[in-house]
Every structure is written in C-alpha cells, then in structure tokens.
Symmetry: C2
C-alpha cells in the first residue's frame, strides 16, 4: 500500500460534521468532556451472549442489511417468468459480486435441476459424440478465472434519454465472480470436433430452451463450462449445475443450465440472435453478432440510490469499470460535467475481462455537481458519450449502450439521472 | 489459457466408466444406439416454467447442495457459545470462499450489532482521540485486497498424530475473501498517534471483549479496518459492521465487531496472547507473539470427505496453499508418499497473502495411494513435515501446525487421515 491516497483533514471532517450534524463531532465532544454514550456505555451486544455457532451452517447477511437486495422493474418485462433482477451496485464495493446478489435474467423461470439427472451432450460435426454426467465432467482439468457478465441490454432504457433513477437499474445487469470450469476446447477435442466445424450452438435445459450460436474460434479459446462461482456450486438462477462462460461477450450467450453443444458449419440464426440481440440502425439495417461488450463505467456512489448524507467535506466517490477486450488501466472522473477531469484511483486486482474498482476521494464544497466517469481499456478504446453513440447507431436498439452516465447532485446531496449535452 | 494441461484420453475415460459404471459409458452408448434417457427425454425442468424472479431478492444455493455447510466438532470446544464452525474445503474450488461458508470462531456468541449505534474509538498515545461513526469511516479512502484468514489453531489437533478425518476439520479454519476497508494508518494519523506509540490494542464489541496487541509497524503497514467482504457488508459472524484485517497474521488478531484501538508503548499481555496463542515448547518456555502464519497447503480432493467415486482413470487432484509472508509460486504433489514429487498446476490469480489453488491431473491405476502436497512461498520457505516441526517444537502446543498432511487412498477410492514417517 502507498500513502498517495488523499486523506481528509481533521478540519474538513469537523466542518462537515458541524454542517451535517454527523458523527465526527463525537470525537471532538469526547475531548471536550461530553462523551458519546454509544462508546462509553455498555451496549446490548456486549452485555449478553450471542447466538451459538451451529445455528448458521450456511450464513446470511445481517438483518440490518435487508435493504441490500436484487430488485426488479415490474414494467420492464412482460411477465414474472421472463424477468430481470438487478444487482444493487450502489450498495457494493470491491470487485467481487457476492453470489446472493448477482443479477439474473431468465426466460422460463428458474430451473431447479437435479445434478445426478443432468447431462451435457456434445455432438454435430464431431467424430466421437459425447454425453457427459456431472461426474464425468469433474474428471477433466479445470481453471479459475474472474470475469464480468454483462447483459447486452444493460443501460438499454437509457438510449432514449435518462430514464431509470439509480445505477441498480441503469447498470445493474452485471456481476463479477470467480468461475471454476472446464475449458470447452478440452471437451470439443475429446468429442473429436471436425475441421469443418466453424460454429457451435449452445442450448439450455430450462423451459425456455435458450440457444445461441458461437464461433468455434471463441469456443476453442477461453470459453469455460463452469460448475462453480466464487468457490461454491453455481446458484440455481445462474444455471446450476452447469453454465457456459463466454468471457467479455454479451451475457445472453453464457447459456445457463447448459445441456447441449452442437458443432456446425454456420450460425443457426435462432430467435435470440435475430429478433433479439441484434442492433437495429437508423438505416433499417441491423448489426448482428455484436458479441463483445465495449468498455464502460459507472459511478455507483454517490448515485440516486446512494446520496451524500454527510454534507460538505470529504466524499468517497466510487464506481466500477470493465471491458470485454481486456483490462482497465485508467478511469477519468469529473464532478463538473466534463469541464475538468481527474484520473481516478484504482484499487483491487486488475484482471482480464473483469470489473475494476475506482475511487475519487475529494472535498465537496456543497455546491451542485455533475458526476461522470470515463473508462479507458487496454486496447486504447475510450468510453464514448451517449451523444457519440446515438450519432452513429440511432435510438432503435436497446443493446450495447456503453455511453457515459451522468448523475446530477444537488446541494442536499441528492443525486439524479440526467443527460447533459 | 494454454494447452499444457494434461487431458484424459477417451480410452482412459471409457475404461474408467466401464470399471466404475460411470457416466462416460453414456457417450459411447449413444453412438451405439442405446440413448441415455437423461439426455433424450424431456426433463421436468424443461417441461414446466420455474419460479419467477422476485421470489429471491437475496439468493441461496440449490437444495441439492444442502450438504455443503459449515460444521462443528462438538467435543472440540467447551460449549456452544465458544465454538468453531469449519469451512467445507472439500466442497469448494477456486480461491474465493463464499461468505456463507467462511469458517467462524467466536468466544461469546455472534453479536448482532446495529451499525447506527456502533462506534470506533481511537485513543491512548494520540494527540486527537477520535470516536467514529460508520458514516465517518465511510469518508476515508478505502482499499480492496484479497487475503486469507487462518486461525493459529488450524490443524492444531494434528500435533498429536492424525486425528480428524476430513480437511474440513483438519484445515477448515481458513477462508479467503476480498476485503474493502480503510487503511488503519489513515485513522491513526488522523488521531495524531505519537512517536512514543509502539503498540496498539484492538478490542471487540461482543460479549467476550476480545483484545489483542499488535505492533505499530504492522498497524501502519497493511492493516485494514474492513466493512465489506466479497463486495457486501461483513457477515454478523465475521464482525459486522467492522473487523480488523491483519494480513498474513493469525486470525485471532483480526478483531471482529471492532470498537476500540488504543495506542500504547508496550504490549498489553491480554489473556488471548498469554494463556492462549502462545506456543509451549518442550523446554517449558513458550514462544510468544508468533503472529505470522507460515506457508502451508492441503489437498482438498481426494480427501476423507471427498473420496474418488469414479474408479481408476482420470482424477483431478486439487488443493489450496497459502503463506503469511507472500505468494505461493510453487506446490509439489506426491501420490506415493513422497517417493516421487511432481510440480502441481496452479490456476487462478496469485495474490499476496491469499489462498492459491493447485491441481494435479493424473491417471489413477486403482492402487492405494499416499497423497501429500508441499507449498513453497515467495521467500523460499518450504512447508515442513510434521516430524520436522515436532523435533523442534514438541507436541505441547495446539498452534501453528503447518506440517505436510497425508491422505491414504485405498483401492475403493476412500481416503483417510494418516501419518507416515
């Protein structure tokens, strides 16, 4: 660790406390002989023994964190079984998403699969078609990688202008976990994939029967057949017992409840890659196979669901950035709507195709702000404005909106989703 | 990813399937016209829509994973409120421990603290004593780091010989998560720590009032006052809302429910660093302040709780390794009790003072095996045998046993905790 992080001065903290009635005054009060009973008096949790250990073989969050949950936008999807549950990004920190809070999107409800009855078939242009049990799969070498998964429709409602008031809703179709899985290329080689095989079709075992076509080059490169996330088995809503991991590519391709891989010599043009997940341009033509997720970032706090509650003085601005093409060496931040930009402080491992965490520790003077962040990825790509995107792509699509997000903060610290020209 | 990983040959997989009646036979059967109904018939989860999304604002594991839980050893601790709940290492993979499965050890039950009533006091040899609310703390710059936490008593029962039959019990007092927290040195500087301050005392707010002395050099180096683990708030059993993170040092020092930091000019010699957490030598003298956790490793599968169930053929041997002094560049593995050693394959990020994951993918001939792993850390230290440790430290202590663990595997694939000379 280095000491190059800015540190709030005591004067600034105390000023802030006086303005906001915040707790730093307690420190001063103690020195002046007005002790804070919260530290001088014996609290209930010190007076009585707590629960024993065996009551929690599998732990859960504190009841005081019951507001930290995934949330739906009821009008956004047609019905309850085809729905989205957004990650509460404004409540999280670091780069790992805990399994219980990973956003979920499905099209036929959550499949509850008995792993002993689950099979993965690999067939098509393959000399030795395979049907694998979970036990079979566990005999192949595996790898561990941290990757973000972002839905192509993340921020999709924002194409038409600032709409959803909170980063949970504007950017919450993303999560970032450590996967453990078998490289798909090992299974394809085991099945004797033919040289004429140029595409694969991946199919889910759930009621929606989700299918997507993936080029064989990607399948033979870094795609995993994953069975674990953050150390434990996949969660049911994340495809238990098996899901495809397609690093850096749109989330819809990461087939959950994976049951079948077919090898072919052309894409299948299934529903989810034709009527869905293509990007309709103003010309009437559509961009197809826009697999890679472009570099993107968002400030998660302050944000509409995470206002500044401590008044002027030290503020920790934080957010996340990611790219489907590599790492994020740099994020810029502005608090004045782009008049001045500063380089954010990054903290946490910088991993390929993973979320990165950035901070900007500054003194807020209490005046309104326009907050923005701008990601640079390791290929040199710089996150564009929404205006730049619209100039080329129009507003027909709901997919691949990686434009710069603006939050307007007022004198009271409240934040709102806005757009500035 | 590279292709240097060994890959089970089809012949080997099929042989294994025939011997064990395993699922690989299904792949062959399909080619021969005896389809596996598990793949050819429509399964219930494809036939009916699953649960909708809103039912799970905070997710939980599949009911088919209900065996993956923390477990206690009833006779190991005096009563239920001073107890240990061990991480099920044999069920996990990768390097991240999910929050619900992180081992826990406490001495007065689980404190359920209301964060709005929680305070952190910093006082003693400090010019400007502080009492901080949680909101105050959130105004200081923070960092994200992945660290292992290991209890000094992990493997403690094994000093007297092979005792507990499973790595959950022999090595399960460890977990590895990403912490988010404020560097303690920023808070000490804010409090105006005096140059005469050479030690700190950290105190917990729970009913046991846990206290430990820590040298100021460590406190000013990499110690964090953490409020989040794996992205979300600390779990109650891990010290919600605040815990100390003391990277690489014994877990007992990572004070949970942190309420007070006192700066002094000598250690306090509290109960937990005198009658406990000192290492009694055969001479009658005790090693004290054995803070650093030495390099260590264990094979998590195969192991007594994770036998080989697929018969001879391809086996994925896996385990974890860690060091309180740095990273783990290398782990050696033997399947014949140390006659021949091979370098294990590492997979996953190699981070300072973090768990590392290793694999050995090999063909099992079905004969009995003696499995061992041996960690090398970035300082050049090599994990010793238990015999080497006992020769110097005797068998009085329960702490700091980082000796090499042996699992004996029989012809049926069952594993047992043994010692070999």
């Amino acid at each position: 660790m280095s000491d190059d992080m800015p540190r709030p001065s005591r004067r600034q903290l105390l000023t802030a406390a006086l303005v906001a009635g915040g707790g730093m005054a307690a420190g001063r009060a103690m020195a002046q002989g007005s002790p804070d009973p919260a530290i001088t008096e014996v609290q209930p949790w010190r007076r009585y023994l707590g629960d024993g250990v065996d009551a929690r073989p599998y732990g859960h969050p504190s009841p005081f964190e019951s507001h930290v949950v995934r949330r739906n936008v009821p009008w956004l999807t047609a019905d309850t079984i085809s729905s989205i549950n957004f990650t509460p990004l404004h409540e999280l920190d670091g780069i790992i998403t805990p399994n219980g809070l990973c956003f979920e999107r499905h099209h036929g409800g959550l499949a509850e699969i008995d792993p002993s009855a689950h099979r993965l078939m690999i067939h098509g242009l393959a000399d030795r078609p395979l049907v694998l049990t979970m036990q079979d799969l566990m005999r192949f070498p595996r790898e561990n990688r941290v990757y973000f998964l972002e839905c192509a429709a993340n921020s999709g409602m924002e194409w038409a202008g600032a709409q959803l008031n909170g980063c949970q809703y504007t950017h919450g179709m993303i999560h970032n976990v450590m996967y453990t899985g078998v490289p798909l290329r090992l299974l394809l080689k085991e099945a004797g994939v033919r040289s004429s095989g140029t595409w694969i079709l991946a199919e889910g075992a759930d009621a929606s029967g989700m299918t997507r076509s993936i080029p064989i080059e990607k399948a033979m490169d870094d795609v995993l057949v994953a069975f674990a996330m953050n150390g434990e088995a996949l969660r049911p809503e994340q495809g238990y017992p098996l899901r495809l991991v397609v690093p850096g590519w749109e989330g819809n391709m990461w087939i959950k409840w994976l049951r079948r891989i077919e090898v072919g010599d052309q894409p299948w043009y299934q529903r989810e890659e034709t009527s869905k997940y293509t990007d309709l341009l103003p010309s009437g033509l559509a961009r197809k196979f826009t697999f890679e997720m472009d570099a993107k970032s968002v400030i998660t706090s302050p944000s509409p669901q995470a206002p500044i509650q401590t008044g002027p003085g030290p503020v920790v601005l934080t957010g996340i950035a990611w790219s489907g093409r590599g790492t994020i060496p740099r994020v810029d931040v502005t608090i004045d709507g782009g008049i001045t930009w500063v380089k954010a402080r990054m903290s946490g491992p910088s991993l390929d195709k993973s979320i990165h965490r950035f901070y900007h520790d500054f003194e807020w003077d209490g005046r309104p702000m326009l907050l923005q962040s701008r990601a640079h990825d390791s290929t040199g790509y710089v996150q564009p404005t929404k205006q730049m995107l619209r100039a080329i792509r129009g507003e027909n699509s709901i997919y691949h909106n990686n434009g710069i997000q603006t939050w307007a903060v007022d004198e009271a610290g409240r934040a709102e989703n806005v757009e500035i020209s």
